[in-house]
């Protein structure tokens, strides 16, 4: 048998090893017994060799090796290398015996709540974004969600990194809520109230929180940087995903579009605007897998209502087959932006189901228009716009003598 002081220290070392090791509960007890048996035998051998008891205890513990390293090796044995180098580093294996301060509990709850919001936003975003953007959103959203759930568990296990992350997440939530309130008059943001209150309480009880995490295992700078990237990436991915370049989506260079205007002689005073368009390639799932219907593109004719106006109902026609692929007077999703333009009216706007188009085919739209009495057709001008989703729009201005200006590209109005 060994003295109680030595026994307490040797058992303490075994406890530290097992606190660092993610080992199945069923095996923990036997493993503890095996490791403790080793330390005892080493201690006895040293004492038999003439080393005094206190020094033998120190030596047995030192020769056994660092608790962190052995714990990490055990984690790798039971959970795998990847798990050991990520979650195994961030999350101690056992819960502390000390009771958790109330504010730490609330900070953990806020992490779980924000994790839930991130998860819901990710599910929505992945369903409505184009493929590459959806993958980007999924990667950051899923990583941020998982990280916050792990942090909530790690905070219960008294880890400083989790406390710091809870503060950062609540600061982000508070700032986001504040921004929403400032940009939406009359809105009261729950984020501002909830996170603001938590941050105030955390600041007022910083001493208690500091004591709670004082025995925390340090994490490497690389892990801290990775955590920060994941959280910031998860926070801003909803805002930036839409603008992230996605090679699966068609670009302005893939669209070939021409417009021409014919005006009859001054006796009849009528004319036509003809637009030909062809896509080299089309977007792959531009609205994501969750958007199965809805209009995508728009073709718009703008004429000055004081001089002329389109009439009749013109359709977009597949030139080769004569099939109608788009009709006027249907409202595209971006119609609210079109309505803001006072020069537009029904017949001059065509909503195009993007999925009705095929790459490489020529489509044509011919508008007829009336010219008011007394207007000289030489003064007529018409604007033609092609809006492609929320990605870009092409514009030109034409007259009876031919194109006045070249096609130019603009970002969509209001974007």
């Amino acid at each position: 048998m060994i003295p109680s002081g030595a026994e307490r220290r040797l058992r303490g070392h075994v406890d530290r090893v097992l606190r660092s090791a993610h080992v199945p509960t069923a095996e923990r007890e036997e493993l503890a017994e095996e490791l403790y048996g080793h330390l005892v035998e080493r201690w006895q051998g040293l004492v038999r060799g003439g080393v005094d008891e206190a020094a033998a205890t120190d030596r047995a513990i030192r020769d056994f090796g660092s608790a962190d390293r052995i714990g990490r090796d055990l984690t790798r044995t039971y959970r795998g290398r990847f798990w050991a180098s990520t979650i195994g580093v961030l999350l101690p294996a056992t819960l502390p015996r000390a009771p958790q301060p109330r504010i730490a509990w609330w900070l953990g709850a806020s992490l779980r709540l924000y994790a839930l919001f991130y998860a819901l936003a990710t599910v929505w975003g992945v369903g409505h974004a184009s493929p590459v953007r959806a993958i980007l959103w999924l990667l950051f959203g899923a990583a941020a969600t998982a990280l916050m759930f792990i942090a909530a568990m790690a905070l219960r296990r008294r880890q400083r990194w989790a406390l710091d992350l809870a503060i950062v997440v609540n600061v982000i939530g508070f700032l986001y809520g504040l921004y929403t309130m400032l940009t939406t008059p009359g809105l009261i943001s729950l984020n501002v109230i909830f996170s603001g209150l938590l941050l105030l309480l955390a600041a007022s009880q910083s001493d208690r929180l500091g004591l709670w995490v004082r025995r925390s295992r340090p994490i490497r700078n690389a892990h801290a940087v990775a955590i920060l990237i994941v959280i910031l990436g998860g926070s801003i991915s909803p805002a930036i995903a839409g603008d992230f370049p996605d090679p699966t989506q068609a670009a302005a260079d893939d669209l070939h579009i021409t417009a021409s205007m014919t005006c009859s002689n001054e006796q009849s005073r009528d004319g036509t605007v003809t637009v030909d368009l062809r896509w080299d390639r089309l977007d792959l799932l531009p609205g994501g897998i969750g958007q199965v219907s809805g209009y995508g593109d728009m073709l718009i004719l703008e004429m000055n209502p004081e001089t002329s106006a389109p009439f009749g109902f013109s359709s977009l026609i597949d030139v080769e087959t004569g099939e109608r692929v788009a009709e006027p007077n249907v409202f595209p999703p971006a119609g609210d932006r079109v309505l803001q333009n006072e020069f537009l009216n029904g017949p001059a706007m065509i909503g195009i189901e993007h999925r009705n188009l095929q790459p490489g085919r020529l489509y044509r739209l011919t508008w007829e228009f009336d010219v008011w009495d007394g207007v000289d057709v030489r003064d007529l001008q018409a604007g033609v716009e092609y809006w492609h989703l929320d990605d870009f729009r092409m514009e030109t201005l034409i007259d009876c003598d031919g194109t006045v200006l070249e096609w130019w590209r603009n970002p969509p109005a209001g974007s």
């Binding site: 048998m1 090893v17 036997e30 493993l31 017994e33 095996e34 490791l35 403790y36 048996g37 080793h38 005892v40 035998e41 080493r42 020769d63 056994f64 090796g65 660092s66 390293r69 052995i70 090796d73 055990l74 790798r76 044995t77 039971y78």
Partner: protein, 97 residues
Amino acid sequence: MGLLLLGLIGQREMYGYELVAELRRQTDSVVDLPEGTVYPALRRLERQGLVSGRWVDVAEAPRRRYYALTQDGERALAAGRRSWRRFVSAADTILRP
């Protein structure tokens, strides 16, 4: 480490502390790792089915867990020995003065 432990356990059934001591003795302390690192390695070998452990009671001391080679362990040890000899022979060809 795994192959060395298989080699020692292949000599006779041993427990953790004994394995560390034998490793040190048979290698003239050339292999002298932190003692605790032997246990993750033993558990890994056990999970791979290469060794099996059994508890043995000891008078007035904590009981010991003895490890023995399984049939898979014997095969792994034989394969490991062959591969090690090939490696040593190849390295020796280059490094021999």
